[in-house]
Subunit: 424 residues, 2 copies
């Protein structure tokens, strides 16, 4: 499905692009250039870089209770949402000062309706009428990202990185595409700081981007990609370090377009290699080989909202026992370990080990669906470099391996080369 | 008219009392003590001290146009109103952390309806139903001061010092009195930094407070006193540097009660002496003695929104000419002088002088209405100290004189003593 080209456009600027008045002016010049080219524009902005952290620290200090977070997160949202309110007003002022017609629209004014899961709310609906009417009368609408409002009128925030999701939701409401200006100039085959031969992808499918985002490529927040896929919003990731020329015209858009798989003519087997250090490996040694034992372990973790990614079970040295290994997010690991230790007697295991010195390396590509041999290439490339893997997980379009962290960069470079990503 | 004692109470804390998390906790302890005594409470808060200045500076930098301020002040309000949003959320969190039931109510949630004069909006209506219902179900309502919302849903701010006005408006809506916690412990007969024998007034009438506020006593914003008088809201000014005792009980309330004249049993002729350095004196020498000339001058000033306070006309040395002296606020003086110079030919005067080295010293008291000799005492006291006055203005309850700034403190002390204020 390709949607007809719209004369509307959503532009999103992150915290770095809103970091101070000079950067806000730079963003405003980019907006002005798009407006001059005839686009009707809504701009979604993050808070000034660092500001959200300051506000969150204040709420922590004011006594956001450790246990009863739920209780207080409505007021947390009141405090933290103010950061984007400030930048949206400042950008509107800056645009006006350049002679443009602009105004800010708070989440409660549009409204950006969310559920009431304060601190990590999900957008439920964004009516496009009010913003659409503003755009149609020639106004540039400036919308604070990250914030919304419940149906009974309380301020909410969407959780970290939520501004990308706001931008996609506004684009869906306006029936147009979304340009995300950020401090990188697109999505790469892998992290260029690890592999200098990494190449920018011109296009990447929603599915691939979703895997890359959740596997550690930090360009876009996972939920924003999910929403873009669900609503078929074309998203372009672009560098904010550009300037219109002397005639106020922007350079031709490069960056990376995130779009439907069907719109990508040149199909690749593997589009990218990702690496994440946000994992921890927990091993229960000498776990009872009762069939209920693993279920007991994972039920306890699920009830405590600990997400488990990879799972490996192997034979233990002790007769009638197994070793159970699983991975969690690194932040959840201490809590998961605590849960296991507290229930050691009930679960029945001999020893617990936590290893944070691990990395998850993944290859992602929609071409895997129709090509055999992808896993084989991966395992051979790793074996050639002497990299052992401790666990594997796969989906239709990705293969991930857990390895010793010391080998992470080596593995990324080996895989990048094995799939010929620098040459495509 | 004395209103029946209400079980509701509005408490207001200024920017110093909200300056950091420790001060917010102190304010919360005072609120908790009032709640424990059985009061149903709404708290009105200012932004953290210094925060509003930072936000205003950002809007200036973003290009709040010098000439076209009107055009942009809606976005100025979006930015600047965020300061109180932050403190109201933080105070609500702090109160919850102490086990109290509290929530914040933004101006648009209550709503605090204002006109659309952005940056200096006037409150038009505060429906008491929503807040009243919250209080009646045992919730402490935390309300950001200084902010409101227009009838078409845009954020407004009330201008500097507007949080006092917010507090009085909320108290009027809730039908109760208003305690204003500040960094002074009440209203004094004069500025204690000038006259150490200044005495705190236990009660002062709305009319007197209004004169004192507009004459330079900076305890309360003038508009908050006007509103309190119009709505008959008793306002108490109190020190925020108090602590509940070990049983959570506050010390007996002292401070100053601002109330109806009829509730003040002990009538004084003069209640206070004020001094202001915010004046400038402008003299047009050799002004044509055409009868239209002064009208021409004051019409031009009025059309430029320059308020004129005192006016003195005297004979000039030149035949057929007069000297016209008037005072304006110091901030307006350069603009007023510019206006006069630009129209020198049309108005017809020889020379313009601006003198900012002046002070206005005033005595205020409702007792003047029924007592003769107040002015006489003033002039004799000044004459005894060799203080000449350059202009006089009077109202029913005050007499002001403009003097050389060098004599200001001397004059204040002389008048404070002449009316026996330290001895009452």
């Amino acid at each position: 499905m390709t949607r007809p080209e719209s004369d509307r456009l959503v532009m999103k600027f992150g915290g770095t692009s809103m970091g101070d008045l000079e950067r806000i002016r730079r963003a405003a010049r980019i907006v002005a250039a798009e407006a001059a080219s005839g686009k009707k524009i809504a701009v979604v902005v993050s808070a000034m870089a660092g500001k959200t952290n300051e506000l969150v620290a204040w709420t922590d200090g004011a006594g956001r209770p450790g246990q009863g977070i739920e209780l207080s997160d409505d007021e947390y949202d009141v405090v933290v949402a103010s950061g984007e309110q400030v930048t949206s007003g400042l950008l509107a002022l800056t645009l006006r000062n350049m002679g443009l017609n602009a105004r800010s629209w708070m989440g409660w004014q549009i409204p950006i309706l969310t559920d009431d899961a304060h601190g990590r709310a999900r957008i439920e609906d964004v009516p496009g009428e009010v913003l659409g009417a503003a755009l149609d009368k020639g106004e540039i609408a400036v919308v604070p990202g990250f914030q919304g409002v419940t149906r009974d009128g309380r301020i909410t925030t969407l959780g970290r990185g939520g501004s990308d999701t706001s931008a996609v939701a506004v684009a869906a409401a306006l029936g147009c595409s979304c340009d995300i200006y950020t401090d990188v100039d697109g999505v790469y085959t892998t992290d260029p700081r690890i592999e200098s031969r990494a190449r920018r992808l011109e296009k990447v499918s929603y599915e691939e981007m979703l895997e890359m985002a959740s596997l550690g490529a930090k360009v876009l927040q996972t939920r924003s990609v999910e929403l873009a896929m669900a609503k078929q919003v074309p998203v372009r990731v672009l560098s904010s370090f550009i300037e219109p020329d002397e005639n106020g015209v922007l350079p031709a858009k490069s960056g990376t377009l995130i779009c439907d798989e069907e719109e990508i003519v040149e199909k690749r087997i593997v589009s990218g290699v990702t690496m994440s250090r946000d994992e921890a490996r927990i091993t229960l040694l000498g776990l009872s080989d009762r069939v209920e034992a693993p279920a007991d372990v994972f039920t306890r973790l699920a009830e405590a909202n600990v997400n488990v990614d990879m799972i490996v079970q192997s034979q233990a040295r002790t007769e009638g026992a197994v070793n159970l290994t699983f991975t969690t997010g690194r932040r959840d690991a201490p809590r998961a370990a605590e849960l296991m230790r507290a229930a050691q007697a009930q679960i029945g295991f001999e020893e617990l080990r936590v290893d944070e010195d691990v990395a998850k390396v993944s290859v992602v590509g929609v071409g895997m669906r129709s090509h055999a041999g992808v896993a084989q290439t991966m395992f051979r490339a790793l074996a050639d470099k002497g990299v052992k893997f401790q666990a594997i997980s796969t989906s239709e379009i990705k293969i991930s391996v857990l390895i010793d962290a010391a080998y992470a960069e080596l593995a990324v470079r080996a895989l990048h080369s094995a799939y010929g990503l620098e040459a495509v």
